[in-house]
């Protein structure tokens, strides 16, 4: 059936003038300095309250100081350790974490990208990695000691194993989860596989990749302690071990406090990188 009210062949139309562009109303992102200070104060409230309470309970004799020293005693211990190569211990641990995290994360980015990008790589590698991921960190230790001795190599490899899996998961799942509609747009522009990866897949997967890196760094600190508890003569894990062997709970707690501080600093750095890199994201916070 055809209905023809009037013949028309001219596409020429008198267009309406373009409407004036209303200025976009940028959404508010980031906090004002006052808000940030209030949030920091709120974050400090719980640990400060716990420390003050602990100090009072220990000084009041309600908790034996040899089992749980007062925070002031831990600060004294840290001061003492400061005169006995504390920086050397911190440096050794930090370097191990840096080396292990860098190598584990680099390998994870490469393999995660391969698994995310190609179904063949996924079929080949992913089942094995998922099985390896389930192995507890301490299970690797005897094998690494057997293979690599007791020097730096087994510690760095153990940390690398710890960092590898969260980063691998972040990269692979991030790439696999890229919005199909964006890839369809990219296909219109005839991008090569490399161009598609560089210009669309990696930026789109960046939130998941950065989350993986952040989790990987956090696990690198945990695996560092596991590595140093077993065979080390330097490092925060060694301090933990030394404190236990000499029944010095203050040293153990000082090392734990340092681990918390270093972990928080490294995580804050990663969070800052994440926030800066993902400023384009239209997210809740």
């Amino acid at each position: 059936m055809s209905s023809q009210l009037a013949a028309s062949s001219s596409p020429a139309l008198a267009p309406a003038p373009p409407p004036a562009a209303a200025p976009a109303a940028p959404k508010q992102h980031g906090d004002a300095p006052g808000q940030r200070m209030r949030r920091t104060a709120l974050g400090l409230l719980l640990p400060a309250t716990a420390l003050v309470t602990l100090e009072l309970l220990v000084r009041g004799g309600l908790i034996p100081a040899n089992l749980l020293p007062a925070p002031s005693q831990i600060i004294d211990t840290l001061r003492d350790l400061g005169t006995q190569n504390l920086l050397g211990h911190i440096g050794a641990s930090t370097l191990r974490v840096a080396a292990g995290f860098a190598s584990g994360a680099a390998l994870a980015v490469l393999l995660g990208a391969a698994v995310g990008l190609t179904r063949h790589a996924e079929a080949l590698l992913d089942p094995t990695f998922q099985a390896l991921r389930a192995i507890p960190s301490l299970a690797w230790v005897p094998l690494l000691l057997l293979w690599l001795g007791i020097d730096e190599a087994p510690k760095i490899v153990l940390i690398a194993i710890g960092a590898f899996f969260p980063v691998y998961m972040g990269v692979a799942s991030g790439i696999r989860g890229v919005d199909r509609k964006l890839i369809e747009v990219a296909r219109l522009y005839r991008l090569s596989a490399v161009g598609l990866t560089r210009r669309v897949l990696l930026p789109a997967a960046l939130p998941a990749i950065l989350t993986g890196l952040r989790n990987g760094l956090s696990l690198a600190w945990m695996f560092m302690v596991a590595a140093e508890l077993i065979a080390a003569s330097k490092g925060l894990g060694y301090l933990l071990s030394d404190g236990r062997e000499t029944s010095r709970a203050d040293i153990v707690l000082a090392a734990i406090a340092l681990l918390a501080i270093l972990g928080k600093i490294s995580d804050s750095l990663m969070a800052a990188i994440e926030k800066r890199s993902l400023a384009w994201r239209d997210s809740y916070a």
């Binding site: 059936m1 209905s3 009210l5 001219s10 139309l13 309406a16 976009a24 219109l188």
Partner: protein
Amino acid sequence: MTIALDIHVREKRYDARVVLRDIRLQLQQGEVVSLIGTSGCGKSSLLSIASGLDRNFNGTVALDGKPLQGVSRDIGFIFQEPRLFPWLTVAENVAFDSNNALATQRLVTRLLAEVGLQEHASALPKQLSGGQAQRAAIARGLFTQPRVLLLDEPFSAVDAFTRMKLQDLLLKVAYQHKLTVLLVTHDIDEALYLSDRVVLLDGGLTEFHPGPAPRKRGDMDAARLKAGILASLHV
């Protein structure tokens, strides 16, 4: 008139389900054609085939008489959603296909002015309203200076007032760029307002001619034609 785009689909199926069979749609140069039909009738499939994005069909697509072997710079595509890359600014999105910075800057500035987004070149997509984002998508679709523009329900996600503004914008750019336009829409009024020819896809193709341009929104001829289209659909 010269045939700009010639789409001939002998068969398009998804697994066992045939969605298009023996469809031939030819667009004359400079013509604005709307493709309408019920959900699932194969409108978007036909558009995807025309764009070169879908090559898994039995048939041919020819641009100016030459068979298309896939996507082409000569065919622009505007999706239902803006689909801007959220990590790129508006200008970077528009120039996504570029590798010439200087020529790009001039072209982007001109295109953004045409779509009324000149003040938003450095904005991120998250800072745009739905209508502004779709304007940016139109500018991106025009960046390769295509001869044919395909649009898949491009205004369905915006409010009625924005939709009318975007419809007028489409007519303006189609005229200024001498574009041949194939628009998929479920809105019969939109099809009648924008098109030289309205094609109803319902197993086969049925054509309707809204009349000479410029058109008025909701005039009596359009109302009669709309009734005819609805009767064809047994609505």
